[in-house]
């Protein structure tokens, strides 16, 4: 799989010239309604897309290097900046790796609190992703604003539990920072009821809407074998019929004690990826209900021993965009020697680049195809 990096990046003044044979090079980004903090170079012949190149690195902050100068508790804060929508799920992988390094098992109540916060964050991340997905399919911002409005009660809950709406810094190696506040359980359950009501509205108005299906069904089909070969991650992988979810395949936190299913779809197209996200939100609501019901009593954090018991650790967690991997190597000090992060968006960007090679994609299909993967440039750049 020889991948010719930077095929079209050589000549910046090529912008206004054609590539020959009537081909256009469209710069979708970094200033474009759909691009985000990156760039898609799209080679088109009018409406037919021949090639897509993803140009990442516009928001590289060197998080891996920063982590080498922080101890394991300080590291939590810069690490969260990878995906602000999904902070606790990103953090989960790191915290697991550090706990493995020190040989510490968090108390059971901390595990349940982590699960609740992870799932709340997953719902909020999926809502945002689906809103952008609907908008990329040419919807007026109606759906995006609906989903943004419905994230508010979740963010309120997170603020009550952790003290911050987005960057909670709530998980620390060895447990969570604080116990749940009083009266939060009823509040969470009420919010879950509200969300389930809203999901019904979404199904009527949006998920099964005729024009939405016309625009997204059969667009950017990712076959099962290619999804595995190219390393698609998260809901994008499950939409191609692969039942792989880190919460189930390598259970962590309270997930082994809870009963839930992996949502899969067989079509592998953009609609299937959106549908998997939508159904996963319902599963998350179910998980939160179970976690609240089975929550044990007890302490919520443990102190780390002074020295790590291992030299290296590898851990993973399921984020909203797919599996994140953390590899930590240490020389026995309170800071890591090297942290390697393998985020999900990076792998999904590679899949986006490959898709035009196996099927015909039209220019109008590019935004829904890209947003069905829920790509996050900040996640890929690190």
């Amino acid at each position: 799989m020889s991948h010719d990096m930077h095929r079209y990046l050589t000549d910046p003044f090529q912008e206004i010239t054609e590539l020959g044979d009537g081909l256009f090079r469209l710069n979708i980004g970094p200033q474009h309604p759909i691009s985000g903090q990156g760039r898609f170079l799209v080679i088109t012949d009018g409406e037919i897309v021949y090639d897509i190149e993803v140009d990442i690195g516009y928001s590289h902050r060197g998080i891996e290097k920063i982590l080498e100068y922080k101890n394991y508790v300080q590291a939590v804060v810069p690490l969260e900046r990878m995906v602000m929508l999904d902070t606790s799920n990103i953090l989960m992988g790191f915290v697991r790796a550090v706990e493995d390094l020190y040989g510490v098992e968090p108390p059971p109540r901390a595990k349940y609190i982590r699960t609740i916060i992870n799932e709340l964050n997953r719902i909020s991340s999926h809502l945002y992703a689906l809103g952008l997905f609907a908008e990329s399919a040419g919807w007026n911002p109606a759906i995006f604003i609906w989903t943004t409005a419905d994230r508010e009660p979740i963010l309120d809950l997170l603020e009550m539990i952790t003290g911050a709406r987005w960057s909670h810094s709530f998980f620390i190696p060895g447990g969570v920072r604080a116990d749940l506040p009083r009266g939060i359980k009823e509040r969470i359950l009420n919010t879950m009821d509200y969300l389930e009501k809203r999901f019904e509205v979404y199904e009527d108005a949006w998920i099964y809407n005729e024009t939405f299906r016309l625009r997204t069904e059969g667009v950017g089909v990712l076959p099962r074998d290619k999804a595995i070969e190219w390393g698609a991650a998260g809901p994008s992988l499950r939409a191609s019929g692969v039942a792989y979810d880190t919460r189930k395949n390598e259970p962590y936190s309270a997930y082994p004690e809870l009963d839930f299913k992996i949502v899969t779809h067989t079509a592998g197209d953009s609609y299937a990826r959106g549908w998997v996200r939508f159904e996963e939100m319902k599963v998350s609501v179910d998980i939160i209900r179970q976690a609240i019901e089975n929550m044990p009593e007890g302490p919520v954090k443990k102190t780390l021993p002074p020295r790590p018991v291992k030299q290296e650790a590898l851990a993973r967690a399921e984020t909203g965009r797919g599996e994140i991997n953390f590899y930590i190597y240490t020389e026995g000090r309170d800071k890591p020697y090297r942290v390697k992060i393998s985020p999900a968006s990076f792998r999904n960007f590679f899949v986006i680049e490959q898709l035009p090679k196996i099927q015909e994609i039209k220019l109008a299909d590019v935004p829904p195809m890209i947003y069905s993967f829920d790509p996050w440039f900040l996640d890929a750049d690190r």
Partner: protein, 335 residues
């Protein structure tokens, strides 16, 4: 007092009054501002938000004025490689086209800006068919890839939308037996043509969204793909001008729909004066049509260009032809 003023204006200044006040320039300008404000408030409510609230104490009614002033005060940037004469000319001329077509719409008995007896319906369509040409000129003269693709899409969409809408209007003209919009409205005194021409109305209503280039058929300016389509390069007052053209276009097609299918200015007696009464009812109908249009705009995702063309050629044109055949059969049976 009101009667006296109306009488005085009608006898002395009627032609000038029609052109400058109602239904001419002032009305068009004020109603366009109202339509934009109404769209923003109404869509905001459907999106669970408030819309503009700050400028103007009541419902943010001054927001549009503030926006217009801001746009006029901005610098007009001419792209370096644009064909500048055409770039300016096409944008400035754009609102004139649908405004010229509105001159033929009767707002009361024998009360249009341009009271032309005879072929007004074909003339209306003829003038409106110039509108896409100016959009294509805008897209081409900007010398930008996004605007050029937007212009190409306008050509495709025009083929898919204009033919069915013309065939639907032909159905109405056959049913009425006249080309004259004034006569068509007079014939709807007892029964609106939406009932005998229901098939034609469906074709008209779907193609209407292609002609006004709004969602689900806002394909030429598709924001997520083409930034802002053919008007990406326009700034400041020129951008305001293109937006004005857009809304006057919506107004022109909505007025044609009311004239052909919803009885034009006919309605129950509210004001004693027939012209005032007609203007009142046409405004009420216009607001209802706009409300329906905005509701559709927010309820659907944008079609792809090939899907829009397929809709036009596979479904709308056969349906419009079937409507014409049905009309001819009904007419020959003497219904």
């Amino acid at each position: 007092m009101l009667d006296w003023i109306l009488e005085f204006v009608k006898t002395n200044f009627q032609p000038l009054f029609r052109i400058i006040i109602f239904p001419g320039l002032t009305f068009l300008f004020v109603f366009t501002i109202f339509a934009v404000w109404f769209q923003r408030k109404y869509l905001a409510r459907l999106m669970m938000r408030m819309g503009p609230v700050h400028a103007g104490k009541v419902l943010g009614w001054l927001q549009l004025v503030a926006d217009a002033l801001k746009l006029i005060a901005k610098e007009i940037i001419l792209p370096k490689y644009a064909y500048k004469k055409l770039f300016l000319f096409s944008a400035i001329t754009l609102p004139v086209i649908p405004a010229a077509a509105i001159a033929l719409i009767p707002f009361g008995p024998n009360f249009a800006i341009f009271n032309l007896p005879g072929y007004t319906a074909p003339l209306f369509l003829g003038i409106m068919s110039l509108y896409p040409i100016f959009i294509i000129l805008m897209g081409w003269s900007s010398n930008n890839k996004f605007t050029l693709i937007g212009a190409f899409r306008t050509i495709y969409l025009d083929v898919a939308g204009e033919i069915p809408i013309f065939l639907a209007v032909l159905g109405v003209m056959l049913w009425a037996g006249t080309y004259d919009l004034q006569t068509i409205v007079e014939m709807q005194k007892n029964m609106w043509f939406v009932i005998p021409q229901f098939l034609g109305f469906i074709v008209f209503f779907i193609s209407y969204f292609a002609m006004i280039e709004k969602a689900p058929m806002d394909i030429p300016e598709a924001e997520t793909e083409l930034v802002f389509g053919y008007r990406t390069e326009y700034t400041g007052a020129l951008f305001l001008d293109t937006m004005m053209g857009d809304y006057v276009n919506v107004l022109a097609w909505s007025l044609l729909m009311i004239t052909l299918y919803f009885g034009g200015y006919h309605g129950p007696q509210v004001f004693p004066d027939p012209i005032l009464n007609g203007a009142f009812w046409i405004l009420i109908k216009l607001i209802i049509i706009l409300t329906i249009t905005f509701t559709v705009i927010i309820s659907y995702a944008r079609l792809r260009i090939d899907q829009a063309i397929r809709l036009g050629w596979y479904y709308l044109i056969p349906l419009a032809l079937a409507n014409i055949v049905l009309t001819v059969i009904l007419k020959s049976l003497g219904v």
